[in-house]
């Protein structure tokens, strides 16, 4: 049992995790005729908490509550993967990737995520606030505007051969490359 836990505690390679992520597509279709998608849970939460007569938020969100349970499950999966089964070592970066991260002024030795951006110390950093608040805003606004996020378009949409999803995923990458190579150095240079 302890060697099994030890084995589970290693980072999982892409050829194990990728197919398992792919399996969630038929798992959701067969168990409940549901389409994989995560950002919808943000819309349902807004509809539940503060719909304020906005037509886009006036719908029966309770009929979609499965999606909120799915999101809650992801939280629990993160809890398990971040504690009992946590990877023992920091993310193994290539020397090149390590140099790029350090050029942004971020430590490459922090474990799964940089503490300066995601740990308690982030609350005392203007840079972390701007990155998380602006980044989070663009994630929520953009996902809904695009009709889905990485799971709904890249995984579910491409798996069902939907060309609008392919276009959307291409623009996800265009936006990501633009941010990484042009704009991000400015934000990460903040104090």
């Amino acid at each position: 049992m302890s060697t099994f836990i030890e084995w589970l505690s290693q980072p999982w390679p892409w050829y194990v995790s990728g197919p398992l992520i792919g399996i969630t597509v038929p798992l959701l279709l067969i168990t409940g005729n549901k389409m994989l998608g995560i950002s919808s849970s943000l819309r349902h939460t807004c509809a539940a908490v503060y719909p304020k007569n906005i037509p886009f938020l006036k719908y029966n969100w309770k009929a979609e509550s499965w999606n909120l349970f799915f999101a809650g499950g992801i939280f629990l999966g993160g809890l398990l993967g971040g504690s009992l089964l946590a990877n023992p070592d920091a993310v193994a970066l290539t020397a090149e990737a390590q140099a790029s991260v350090e050029a942004l002024g971020v430590s490459a030795q922090d474990g799964l995520l940089p503490e300066s951006l995601f740990g308690w110390e982030a609350f005392g950093s203007l840079r972390a606030w701007i990155i998380l608040v602006l980044g989070g805003f663009m994630i929520g606004f953009g996902a809904r505007y695009a009709g889905g996020c990485t799971s709904g378009h890249a995984i579910m949409g491409l798996s069902s051969l939907q060309w609008p999803s392919l276009v959307t995923v291409i623009f996800f990458f265009i936006g990501g490359l633009l941010m990484t190579h042009v704009l991000a150095p400015f934000f990460y240079a903040l104090p």
Binding site: I30, F69, L134, I139, G140, F141, A143, Y145, G175, T180
Partner: protein, 136 residues
């Protein structure tokens, strides 16, 4: 109670994302710099398995456990795919996370991720509010 199965599938999904470091800000930085195959391998193999599954479901007309026909509604194209897609991609690269990892990282105990979650909720709300005025 019928929702418990979705909680369990979500937990599996969140565990996989965390264990394979897809929730890691470092992995997203690497991906957008083409410095590692890891994220491309994850997304690519997930799509291959998802695609084969969908084709099998269609070919054998497999029904859901509730006995219904499985229907996958068509995604529609509009200007949001371009504008919203670009905005989302920028947020993904800036914060180094997308919605699944936001929840998983909250579970994994990274306190500052709640700033991004709160802001993502506000972004969703503001999109909903502005929707009639935005190009689609």
């Amino acid at each position: 109670m019928k929702n418990i199965k979705f909680l369990l599938i979500g937990a599996l999904f969140g565990l996989i994302l965390t264990k394979t470091e897809a929730v890691s800000w470092y992995r997203i930085q690497e991906m957008f710099r083409f410095q590692s195959f890891h994220m491309y391998g994850i997304i690519g193999s997930a799509v291959v398995v998802g695609l084969i599954s969908v084709l099998l479901i269609r070919f054998f007309k497999i029904k859901s456990l509730g006995g219904e026909d499985i229907v996958i509604p068509d995604k529609t194209f509009n200007k949001g795919s371009v504008i919203g897609g670009t905005i989302f991609g920028m947020g993904w690269a800036l914060a180094g996370a997308c919605p699944g990892p936001l929840y998983a990282l909250a579970g994994a105990g990274y306190p500052a991720i709640w700033l991004a979650i709160a802001s993502a909720l506000f972004g969703t709300w503001l999109y909903s509010y502005l929707r009639p005025k935005l190009p689609h």
